[in-house]
Amino acid sequence: MSIEIRNIAKRFGNFTALDHINLEVKTGELLALLGPSGCGKTTLLRIIAGLEAPDDGQILFHGEDTTEKHVRERNVGFVFQHYALFRHMTVFENVAFGLRVRPKETRPSDAEIKRKVHELLNLVQLDWLADRYPAQLSGGQRQRIALARALAVEPKVLLLDEPFGALDTKVRKELRRWLRRLHDEMHITSVFVTHDQEEALEVADRVVVMNKGKIEQLGSPSDVYDKPATPFVYQFLGDVNLFQSRVHEGWAHVGDARFAAPQGQTDQAVVYVRPHEIDVSREGGAGALSGVISHVRLLGATVRLEVDVAGQDAVEVELTRERYLQGDWKVAETVYLLPREARVYVPSAAEWTDGGGI
């Protein structure tokens, strides 16, 4: 079942949540809507579900216009960030209830419902909790029950609103891998919303990066990570250092370093460098930036140096633990930074350039 989103717009008062979005979700794919809070991703998901009405535009399920249909007629499975399990019902009843309240003609028999619910509870590996109440479960368990409940009504589309947002890191990682495996088995067209770029890149077939009610980029995880279409995408998909620079004869200059710059109207440019794409050394050389280490942060497998560079914001450099130990870097010593990779953005230029440092 494909979903076509045509020219969808939504405003809340003066705030533009969605600015005429066009998007197609392909049959059987797992699509991530990724962006910071307030970018419109959840609103878009809720409009697809029918929980919110758009001001303009259409939603088509498999070519059929469903814009005017009530959520209960759309046959979507919806998983909420805060689970929204029916608190007064057992786990079994939570999953069964959507089937139980169907009109007589379409309602499965009790035995059929029982079989189906246990099948789903087995799928989410929680059959042993069938008689518990939601309040007696952990967050991760509740979210898996919520997923079983969403699947019970045999939805044509599965929609997940920050499904792992309320869980701690470890459970979140487990659950997202599990969701990916589940999707590989079931192939139900799915859209999930997240603000966690790691989650989107790891789980999704395709990622939609959103900002301020617009789509910044749509592509496979490696597309958006390796070929970010805009500075926003680049900054959102990982930590990044920004260098303010001036363009002179096609090169953006940062201190003694220079980077190939695209043609622009002004001589202003911003150079983006990821913290792990910078080499540190004690000897200066062509194109190196000098600075003073102000902080050393041990983050487990990696170590971050914060380096003060004249005329720039503090620069973050990420080293592996071995490199850090070999270098024996200390606070207050002067070092030279050599970016291996950089991206140059000239605000007025339409595109941006991959520049190697020289």
Binding site: L85, V101, A135, V153
Partner: protein
């Protein structure tokens, strides 16, 4: 006549009065819950033509003395050809009055149930009434019990006002005994004690209900 002997001889009258008081209280509780539920549903219907009269009704019932309402129903309505027996009039007045308070409690409790519960039910294919009936109301009831009990326990005491329309409930029974024995102090104290005992019984019922309903909500999600 000493106090003990007085109470012994007054006892049958007071007991009969207590019976009527209970009849009013329980009758008006049932009636009040029905009226309250109806009003709450009207106010949550989303239809202006229903919401507006319901809101007006609640405001009027809460904004006028119960005593005046009882007079209107028993002495006023016959003027336009509607006449009730004293007991019916009493239960009706108390139900209509309590219903106004109960409806506000119910409305608040229904609104207090997380919006996500409605949305989850809708996405499961349930309709508005199904959702209200099976999903929202059972949860709202738990939220409503303390405040509902408040209204219903007040109701027990409010039944004393029905004595003005010549129903020999506890209050009027006490007065009648006093008018023949001229011993107001021990008899009024006895009446107060009986009202209190009735309230205590209903408090116990409330506690039981809260425990039963609260079982599944032991831990907040």
């Amino acid at each position: 006549m000493n106090t003990l002997a007085l109470l012994q001889s007054a006892w049958p009258y007071l007991l009969k009065g207590t019976g009527y008081t209970l009849l009013f209280a329980v009758g008006a509780m049932v009636g009040g819950l029905l009226v309250g539920a109806l009003l709450a549903v009207l106010r949550l219907s989303g239809i202006k033509a229903l919401q507006w009269p319901a809101a007006l009704y609640v405001s009027a019932m809460r904004g006028t003395p119960l005593l005046v309402q009882i007079f209107i129903i028993y002495y006023g309505l016959p003027a336009i050809g509607i006449q009730f027996e004293p007991i019916t009039a009493g239960i009706l007045a108390l139900s209509l009055n309590t219903g106004a308070y109960v409806s506000e409690t119910m409305r608040g409790a229904i609104n207090g149930v997380d919006r996500g519960q409605w949305e989850a039910a809708f996405s499961q294919g349930m309709g508005r009434w199904q959702t209200l009936h099976y999903i929202v109301w059972p949860q709202a009831l738990r939220l409503a019990v303390p405040s509902l009990s408040n209204s219903l326990i007040s109701l027990i005491k409010d039944t004393s006002l029905v004595s003005v329309i010549a129903v020999t409930e506890l209050m009027l029974a006490t007065k009648e005994v006093i008018s023949t024995t001229f011993q107001p102090f021990p008899l009024y104290v006895a009446a107060a004690a009986i009202y209190w005992c009735l309230s205590l019984i209903f408090e116990q019922v409330q506690r039981l209900l809260e425990r039963r309903l609260g079982r599944t909500l032991a831990r907040q999600p």
